[in-house]
């Protein structure tokens, strides 16, 4: 796959002025009704003027698991995010993640495995071939996108650490860096963000460790440099900016489940028949449509039932939501 790298060129002063003016007008019009206290309390981080360049990731393998549904635009994928570490508004991650330094990066591997310790981003990724995986992503808030991730099967990575027979679950943690992540300065969630999967879910071929989108490295707001993508679960399970992975015998605590066990289960499988207590999960809004686009029906396991329904045979999904 050929990827065009953006040419770096110095804009003429007149271009800079008009761009700034444009942004000002745009943000004034937008701010009528949108700058709330949560944004203002987000701290002193300044808005992202020049997002750090993302790197091209070179040739990618195609995958049988990719969907052929229409992919969302780069703007949709990178400017409409839930990443509370950078603020609770959908545009906050795009606007306030400019200070975040994703590299160098290291990941601590711990728990029930033969090989544990600290590993660099390169240690984790280098020996694997990168694949493109075009997945549907369904948020627990009843919207969805189609995103062309770049990553590697999580199973291939985990196996290198030789998990023992005690490894029944895999736990994940997001980095804690309040100086670079203004959202972490407010105790909205119990930082650092934690997630977990059963070992079978983690080893399922659909589960990937993503390092990029659209053929380039992940922008900060999408979870740079390393994140999980579990396409049959609500988006909050796909934890971002991971710096700790553990193999555990018991079910690990997870952030949203701790914040509201009644609303957010450990499994969090996409399921149109189990409503969130405050809204319906039967339908979803596909991002990128116009003002008059109707919602579409949500599919069991987000349409990945063939690949994953077997993981839950015998489990009461109404209770284990």
């Amino acid at each position: 796959m050929l990827i065009r790298v953006k040419q770096k060129s110095t804009p003429a002063p007149s271009e800079i002025a008009s761009e700034a003016e444009y942004q000002n007008r745009r943000s004034f019009i937008r701010s009528m009704g949108f700058v709330g206290a949560s944004t203002l309390l987000g701290g002193t981080a300044c808005a992202q003027e020049n997002p750090p360049e993302t790197r091209s990731l070179g040739p990618l393998l195609k995958s049988q698991y990719s969907t052929d549904q229409t992919v969302n635009s780069y703007a949709d994928v990178t400017q409409y995010n839930n990443f509370y570490e950078f603020g609770t508004g959908k545009e906050d991650p795009y606007e306030y993640s400019g200070q975040f330094k994703p590299l160098p990066w290291s990941v601590r591997i711990e728990g029930a495995a033969d090989i544990t310790g600290d590993f660099s981003y390169e240690d984790i990724i280098q020996s694997h071939a990168l694949e493109e995986r075009i997945y549907r992503m369904r948020c627990v808030e009843a919207w969805s996108m189609v995103i062309p991730w770049v990553g590697i099967p999580l199973a291939d990575v985990l196996k290198r650490f030789k998990p023992t027979s005690n490894a029944k679950y895999v736990s994940f943690e997001t980095v804690y860096r309040p100086s670079q992540m203004p959202g972490q300065r407010r105790p909205i969630l119990d930082w650092p963000y934690r997630e977990g999967l059963t070992i079978e879910e983690a080893m399922n071929p659909l589960t990937i460790l993503a390092v990029g989108v659209f053929g380039k490295s992940l922008p900060n707001q999408n979870g740079a440099p390393l994140r999980l993508v579990v396409p049959w679960k609500y988006g909050f399970k796909s934890i971002k900016s991971i710096n700790k992975i553990g193999f555990t015998e018991t079910q690990p605590a997870t952030t949203w489940n701790d914040a509201g066990a009644y609303e957010y289960g450990f499994y969090a499988n996409v399921n149109p028949e189990v409503d969130h207590p405050r809204w319906s999960q039967a339908r979803e809004r596909r991002i990128g449509g116009g003002l008059f686009d109707a919602k579409q029906p949500t599919l069991m396991f987000n349409g990945y039932a063939d690949e994953v329904a077997g993981l839950y045979s015998g489990l009461d999904l109404q209770r284990n939501f």
């Binding site: 444009y22 007008r25 745009r26 019009i29 937008r30 009528m32 009704g33 949108f34 709330g36 206290a37 949560s38 309390l41 969302n72 703007a75 949709d76 400017q79 409409y80 509370y84 609770t88 959908k90 545009e91 808030e141 919207w143 909205i188 969630l189 914040a259 509201g260 409503d275 405050r278 809204w279 319906s280 339908r283 809004r285 991002i287 990128g288 449509g289 116009g290 003002l291 008059f292 686009d293 109707a294 919602k295």
Partner: protein, 202 residues
């Protein structure tokens, strides 16, 4: 304040200014709908429109409720003359918010609409609030004011429970970060509290 505008000044200067200001949020929304100056509605235009109209509906409810205390504060009755127009703007934004939900979000799907109104408590609250506001908008004219006499003021006290329901509706639909909603609740509490306090002292 020594400056007291006369009847003519209110009618021909102050009211038109307030009218234009109150139209401004709607005008800016139109700019965004037609993407003028690249302002746009963002990746989720329906949610953007709906939230924008809802928050302005709430803001105008609070502005309308602030008029009476403002008149007390300056010890002059003239601001009261702006109350009806502001109240009708509040109703308009609330109604547009509801219509955005009905037409854009639900695509007029009757069964989904009924089930949401019944099953989702925050939507039930919003619906109740809107139902309370309708008789107030209808009876806002001079004719109705005369016809209802003393009952008119009583009827229009329905705005208090409506405002409480709206704040509760807002608070309840927030996923986690409730600080903005709580700030609006605090403003409403202050506006209602000052009325209770005034009554006590009479």
């Amino acid at each position: 304040m020594t400056l007291v505008p006369g009847k003519q000044q209110i009618r021909f200067i102050i009211k038109p200014i307030v009218f234009v200001l109150a139209m401004l949020p709607l005008a800016l929304l139109c700019l965004r709908i037609f993407n003028i100056y690249g302002s746009g509605l963002g990746p989720n235009p329906i949610e953007t429109v709906q939230d924008y109209l809802g928050i302005w509906g709430l803001r105008f409810i609070l502005i309308s409720l602030a008029i009476t205390p403002a008149a007390w504060l300056i010890k002059k009755p003239w601001p009261i003359r702006l109350r009806r127009m502001l109240g009708l703007f509040a109703f308009t934004y609330c109604l547009l918010h509801f219509l955005a939900w009905l037409i854009l979000d639900q695509s007029l799907d009757i069964s989904a609409i009924i089930s949401d109104v019944i099953k989702r408590p925050f939507i039930t609250l919003g619906t109740l609030a809107l139902l309370l506001l309708i008789p107030l908008a209808v009876t806002s004219t001079k004719g109705w004011q005369i016809r209802l006499g003393a009952r008119w003021a009583n009827l229009h006290r329905l705005v208090y429970p409506a405002a409480i329901l709206i704040c509760w509706h807002y608070y309840w639909q927030v996923k986690l970060d409730t600080i903005d909603a709580l700030l609006y609740c605090a403003v409403l509490a202050a506006l209602l509290g000052v009325r209770l306090w005034k009554r006590r002292r009479l």
